[in-house]
Symmetry: C2
Subunit: 350 residues, 2 copies
């Protein structure tokens, strides 16, 4: 069944979703945000996203943001493709004006921490804020290990769509699934969104070890994975604990572990982790990566803040999260990147 899908936000992830969406036989309209003007111009001119190696399938339509309402007309659902820095913009400029009956699927990854240490998902945040305006709407979301440029290459990819409205996410799954884009469905919004956000913070912690190996052996040292694996083990342990606190389903947690895996390899988080691991100060690392969007740093800080707050309230024991607190100390207190390895050991003897 052919559907019409409008993607708002033409960054890499939003744009990459145009591939499975169009190739599955749907009409696809890609709308840039006001920051995406040049991207949309380039797409209109060449049919290619400036950051992708392959052109879009012929037939995808492109819109500047001023025409977004026209692009949404007659759509079966809208995909929100903004970064976590665009969460409030998307709320105020799009969701506030969108027909509440129009299903929305968001790819924005992150969490928001409340005063009491609670971490809430963007769909929950949007819902609450929209209710203040008298608008009742659910937002659905995508989680799971998927880097945009690999989706463009038709690499085999496992993701999940989460939302409270089962009929809507099943309709979206049917519209989007292809021979390379495999979609699970779940009502566990907070679990999946938490997994997807937490993995950014933990991928940073694991990437530190790559920089530490470079520091010790030189960047051409070849295979050195023991320390990555040791950090991955601890990250899995802490993520599992935190996700249990968040009330996550086990499947959401495990998909988040897969997401952690791909983020260590594929993302921008890796770059800052390696620089810090090599011994650069936080300021030096940011200088080197000037212009790169580092959502992971925001997430890492928010999660750390939430855990410290939960610890103050007696809800968690900080010693259960030595990797998270270490990442926080490296980012914000100038601590050397070498990991607190002994604190990752356990004693399960009687």
């Amino acid at each position: 069944m052919k559907r019409t899908i409008t993607i708002i936000g033409s960054g890499m992830m939003g744009s990459a979703l145009a591939f499975p969406a169009f190739e599955n036989g749907n009409e696809v309209r890609l709308v840039g945000t006001p920051l995406d003007k040049e991207i949309i111009e380039e797409c209109k001119r060449s049919g290619k996203h400036p950051k992708f190696d392959r052109p879009f399938p012929k037939g995808v339509e492109y819109f500047q943001f001023e025409d977004w309402q026209e692009a949404v007309k007659g759509a079966d659902f809208v995909i929100g493709g903004v970064s976590s820095f665009g969460v409030d913009w998307f709320l105020n400029e799009v969701l506030a004006y969108l027909d509440p009956a129009m299903p929305v699927l968001s790819v924005t990854k992150g969490l928001i921490n409340l005063e009491d240490g609670t971490l809430i998902s963007y769909p929950a945040y949007w819902k609450t804020e929209l209710l203040k305006k008298g608008i009742r709407r659910e937002v659905n979301a995508i989680g799971g290990p998927c880097t945009s440029y690999e989706l463009v290459f038709h690499d085999q990819t496992e993701v999940a769509f989460c939302g409270k409205d089962t009929a809507a996410i099943k309709m979206m799954k049917e519209a989007m699934q292809t021979s390379y884009y495999h979609i699970s469905t779940t009502n566990d919004v907070i679990g999946l969104e938490s997994a997807v956000a937490l993995k950014n913070a933990y991928a940073l912690g694991i990437a530190l070890t790559i920089g530490l190996v470079n520091r010790q052996h030189g960047a051409e040292a070849g295979l050195h994975y023991n320390s990555q694996a040791g950090a991955f083990y601890q990250a899995t342990k802490e993520m599992t604990k935190l996700l249990r606190l968040q009330g996550a389903d086990e499947d959401s947690t495990v998909l988040g572990i897969g997401d952690l895996y791909v983020t260590v390899y594929g993302g921008r988080t890796r770059k800052i982790g390696i620089l810090l691991g090599e011994g650069k100060t936080y300021e030096e690392a940011l200088d080197i990566l000037a212009g790169v969007t580092l959502e992971s740093l925001v997430v890492a800080r928010r999660v750390a803040k939430a855990i410290y707050r939960k610890a103050e309230l007696g809800m968690v024991d900080l010693t259960d999260f030595p990797l998270m607190t270490h990442v926080n100390d490296v980012l914000d207190h100038g601590k050397d990147a070498e990991l607190p390895w002994d604190s990752f050991t356990f004693d399960n003897t009687k």
Copy 2:
């Protein structure tokens, strides 16, 4: 406190343990098996293991197997460093003649499947077999993400020592821990040993995706991690399920996930997985890897056999293990390596 540690088996892992053992101030005696004659000769001549880039610390002593009883005299404990193909040899030639009061720590990784689908650890197997000879002994074991050549490089490494005799494993931990070798302790022998064995089978499944990417994009295609991460997610899910069936502690499971991570990158399992993923037949892959010890194949088949048997007995549902059964079909039934991606999706909606 200085101790005397005798390592029997001078393959890569047994030999690598001489580094933390000696550097922590102990006397270390490395004994070859009858298959290791040339290795020991080379060690005596040059002080270096032929497969390592760095020489042993000066002071490690080397023994041919005919002198093993002398090498064990006065030792505080013995490390068993044979491969899984040497399990019965180690039982009949060493354990059967060793003072039952001498603690033993084994690095051999694997499981043995019984007729009813039960998977038992090598320590349990040795204990049962020795009892038949009237000998009562516990064997302790090492698990966790550790490749031998990285240990030689002093890379940061997280492992666990497991055993029923808490005092013995704590003594061994104290003797072996260094600034780079970090040791957890646990009584969960079956859990840790199962995790360590299972990860071999699952690493093979994940490595298939690397070969599949090479098949599709060429070996120089650069970053392609979505499919690895999708398989890693599924492997984590199935390993967690199987380890729960085995009665594993959660810490053992999570350390096994770290071990899975390092095995995808560092091991021989990776090589055969890539070849099969690229489209080589099982026989072609074995030809290319002629002479390489492939313990992972033995483990993969044993685990698959156990799961099929458990399914026959109604204890598990085979559809919960699509990656494991796929690996088995690729190895033994000539199935193409492309993974059954849709079977990895879940539906957690109401």
